[in-house]
Subunit: 390 residues, 2 copies
């Protein structure tokens, strides 16, 4: 199956899309199948079931919908919120800001707690903010892809359950599901939204999400109809229930090939030789190696010192350029060496740092040696750029 990889393929080490394994690519090239075919129906149904396993959410309702990860924000705003609802948004980068904008678009009222670049809001700030108003929901970006800041979701949900137990907890797991440990049921997450092209390890194009029983009850007891059509759970819920019961149903044509790819990846994640617990451990190990390697080169993380211990992602690393160097000094030299890193994305610092993704097969399959390769190539690129460790 190595025929998929052209000789000039560059190693994709950005925080999504990530490298995709050959068996998943082959599944994405599945011959065309009817969305109602008896061969396809169980593939869809099993994929729904496996999503619950990945998020440790046995009681939840899964959704697989054609769309980018961004669509998950709309699904939350359209189905769980109503006009005038107050929502607390914990922001650690670009994606918190955008989630707040999405919420406001549909008429709910976001209040943001914004951490400075490379930090996260303290537990005291969060507790204090939660006490200011009766919030219908609080949103957490588990890992903000723009900064690599990791939130301690378990700790935040504990505060919410203590201070305002009626407040729904909405978790943006786009850059965390599959690479960070998540226990949706045990932590009390009400809605977990994510996408296909990061820790799940397939090409982009699927909006994935899971809703708790409480979230579904909130949806069912809305006083106004959902504020969208394509995004309405009224339309999707019967479809998801039908496929899980192994019968077809129709609202919109599901993206059959991406669902074959999803099924293949979820099978590996839930039944492969590497258990989910081991998968998370491998992400932590790889992350430590990358962060240690960065430090050894004399480079600094974007993350502030107070966040570096427990507040940084295990699936990506944001790295400051050395003083006097910029993107054009480093990233093209990495590309020449066959490695793609991501540029900065935070509005206040985007020219000051680059981003390395280390998720999925790149860290789970040791034979690839992707982490060794990127650290080696980075050292070479820096040297060619004239950088000397101080």
């Amino acid at each position: 199956m190595s025929s998929f990889k052209q000789a000039d393929h560059k190693l994709l080490m950005i925080p999504g899309p990530i490298e995709v394994s050959d068996d998943v690519l082959l599944a994405n090239a599945h011959p065309s199948m009817a969305h109602v075919s008896p061969d396809f129906v169980p593939v869809f149904g099993e994929s729904l079931e496996m999503l619950r396993k990945v998020a440790d959410a046995p009681s939840s309702q899964p959704f697989i919908i054609s769309g980018s990860g961004t669509l998950g924000w709309d699904l939350a705003a359209v189905n769980l919120l109503e006009k005038g609802d107050d929502v607390l948004v914990l922001t650690t980068g670009y994606f918190g800001d955008s989630f707040a904008e999405c919420i406001a678009t549909y008429g709910a009222q976001p209040t943001q707690v914004v951490a400075q670049v490379g930090s996260r809001p303290s537990e005291g700030e969060i507790e204090n903010a939660l006490k200011q108003k009766k919030y219908k929901a609080v949103t957490i970006t588990h890992v903000d892809t723009s900064t690599g800041i990791l939130m301690d979701v378990e700790a935040v949900t504990k505060i919410v359950k203590r201070v305002c137990p009626d407040t729904l907890v909405i978790l943006d797991g786009v850059c965390s599901v599959g690479s960070e440990e998540i226990h949706m049921d045990a932590w009390g997450i009400d809605y977990l939204l994510f996408a296909s092209q990061k820790g799940i390890g397939i090409p982009p194009g699927l909006s994935l999400s899971l809703a708790s029983p409480r979230a579904m009850k909130t949806f069912e007891s809305r006083s106004t109809p959902p504020a969208g059509f394509y995004t309405s759970w009224k339309k999707w819920l019967p479809v998801m229930k039908a496929y899980e019961a192994r019968t077809p149903a129709y609202f919109a044509t599901p993206p059959t090939n991406l669902i074959y790819a999803l099924h293949t990846s979820l099978k590996t994640m839930t039944e492969g030789p590497v258990s989910l617990a081991q998968r998370f451990e491998k992400h932590r190990e790889a992350s430590q190696r990358v962060k240690k390697g960065i430090e050894n080169l004399g480079l600094e993380q974007l993350a502030q010192p107070d966040s570096r211990q427990s507040g940084v992602a295990n699936g990506m690393t944001a790295v400051r350029y050395p003083r006097g160097f910029k993107a054009s000094d480093i990233l093209p030299k990495m590309a020449q060496r066959g490695v793609v890193f991501g540029a900065g994305l935070h509005k206040d610092a985007k020219d000051e740092y680059f981003r390395i993704g280390h998720m999925g097969v790149s860290v789970v399959d040791p034979a690839r040696k992707d982490v060794d390769v990127i650290l080696q190539k980075l050292e070479e690129a820096l040297a060619e750029a004239g950088y000397q460790k101080q």
Copy 2:
């Protein structure tokens, strides 16, 4: 590349998803690429340009968005309509009904002209309806996938231009673009929405659309903001303009692999040995052969006699079961013979007919002989079911 086709792959002859050519499947298995990569940017940009060619719409603004075809209705309702706007919906099946429901969800007011099963509204009915109110827009389902009824879009737009020239013309081309002739600019279509899994010949998962200069002006002069976030052209327009100018931009991660597949198929459609005009002609020829073959077997189309001449699709055929036969007598026997047909879908007649798709490679590539195969297998299945031509 025939390795993609398993020996047990059944010929998929439903009105979407359709059979996908091997080069497109291979493109869908492209190694993972960054959405901002200098290799991917022109693939996205050229795809936007080729969409204009397929719809003969040089003046239009194209959009490629991750989503099912259904998302195109939301894009129309969110960006072109505002609360209270009156919209005339010309309905020839399931999809007209659903489009009306989508429009109502966002607060505009649909008025439907509903044709009886297997017919289309007459030009007199349409003209009369257009004179009743000042409509912001009229929607036409070019081919309603549930019935195979084809609207004469050129004739309808002529009526609109004469009776109410300010009314926007919105065309649902999900089951027509690529299989039916469309001249968006010349006919005066303001918004054409479609999907990837029918005449475009790639797997499902892309919402494709084109907006006329007048549609973009209508959008820019809205008195209220667009009623969605993921669906807002405010977000997508800068992205589409950037990629067409061969620079990356970000709102949501584009479905890179599906865009490689789209690019591959659009290249064939616009630059391949079969011209677009020949492609449409091949669809007309294949359609005639299927419809003649059906008639030779003594079967009847769902289309009423008054529609059979010019009012039926060239990419699909809806066929009534012979008297005394039902879906379970025929469709499983087709599947046993390696051919997948679609069941009925119109709410008033869904158990009375089945649907045959004949689009894309199945009719453009004569070496496949797909039309011969399905007619032959249908004759065998009918005989096994005990059917005798009367």
